[in-house]
């Protein structure tokens, strides 16, 4: 399957019909999720700030998951020379960076009224900041190397090194005590439903943006190759 999808033409032909469906699904899920988020009851302890959870948690989960996906793509690119692997990782990086930044910002805006401070150098917040810096480093490194093959190799190594940080982000609340709460299981239906719908909306948005950005990357690589051929002739 992975080899089958390595052909950019085949990949584009297969995923093009999905894009409008994903765009519609994203709009529908965000509209439903936002209505549910602002009709759900406020928390007895946190009041209305609990509504920040509906955007903070999906952003944090996806910031982590996207980096894991970049790591897998980088591995395939580095070891198996998969034709689309580097393009996929490159397409994912800005999406993951924005979501991780949003997790940090919304976390700070949630933390200020609940903890009395927007930031503490505890395990979760610090490792989340490190994750964001890995994203920024990946994007900057890719942009700074003109040779696509060398850029793919160097950024793949950086992405794989950054994977070490993922378990630290996830287990930081277990390993060290800090202001950030431990990973919780939501059992109240009033909170669970809007959270799941908003998570679905974010996943759908990420999938849609990924296909758009990967298509851009394929088109860009095609025109760079064509331009080089034309200038050579």
């Amino acid at each position: 399957m992975i080899t089958f999808l390595a052909n950019p033409e085949r990949f584009t032909a297969l995923t093009r019909p999905l894009r409008p469906w994903l765009a519609s699904l994203t709009g529908l899920l965000f509209a439903t999720g936002l209505v549910l988020a602002f009709t759900s009851p406020e928390d007895y302890q946190q009041g209305d700030t609990v509504r920040i959870m509906y955007i903070h948690v999906p952003a944090a989960i996806l910031g982590l998951s996207i980096y894991a996906a970049m790591g897998v793509a980088s591995f395939f690119g580095l070891i198996f020379r998969h034709a689309l692997a580097d393009a996929a990782a490159k397409a994912l990086a800005p999406i993951g960076a924005v979501l991780t930044l949003l997790a940090l910002v919304t976390g700070a805006l949630w933390g200020k009224p609940m903890w009395g401070t927007p930031w503490q150098w505890d395990g979760r917040m610090t490792s989340e900041l490190v994750l964001f810096l890995f994203y920024v480093g990946y994007i900057a490194l890719h942009a700074s190397i003109d040779d696509e093959v060398r850029a793919a190799k160097m950024t793949a190594i950086l992405a794989l090194v950054g994977l070490v940080n993922l378990p630290i982000v996830h287990y930081s609340v277990v390993w060290w005590s800090g202001l950030h709460q431990a990973n919780a299981v939501v059992t109240t239906h009033d909170i669970y439903l809007p959270l799941m719908v908003m998570l679905g909306a974010h996943i759908s948005l990420v999938a849609w943006l990924f296909l758009i950005r990967l298509d851009s990357e394929i088109l860009t690589r095609k025109y760079k190759a064509l331009r080089a051929r034309l200038s050579f002739n």
Binding site: P94, L209, L226
Partner: protein
């Protein structure tokens, strides 16, 4: 089902979070779509140039 938009004393934090998310995600979407359109246009122009050679 009652839509509650009055966030009381937490309005700055709640609306600040939703506002930041909206701005960031809409900007990312627009930039991604613009890059796709640009890349397609450049490729089409180069393909036309290649045909004339």
């Amino acid at each position: 089902m009652h839509l509650d938009l009055d966030m009381g004393k937490y309005a700055v934090y709640v609306w600040g979070s939703y506002g930041a998310s909206a701005v960031a995600l809409v900007t990312l979407t627009l930039l991604s779509l613009r890059a796709q359109v640009r890349a397609r246009k450049v490729l089409e122009a180069l393909q036309k140039a290649a045909e004339t050679l």
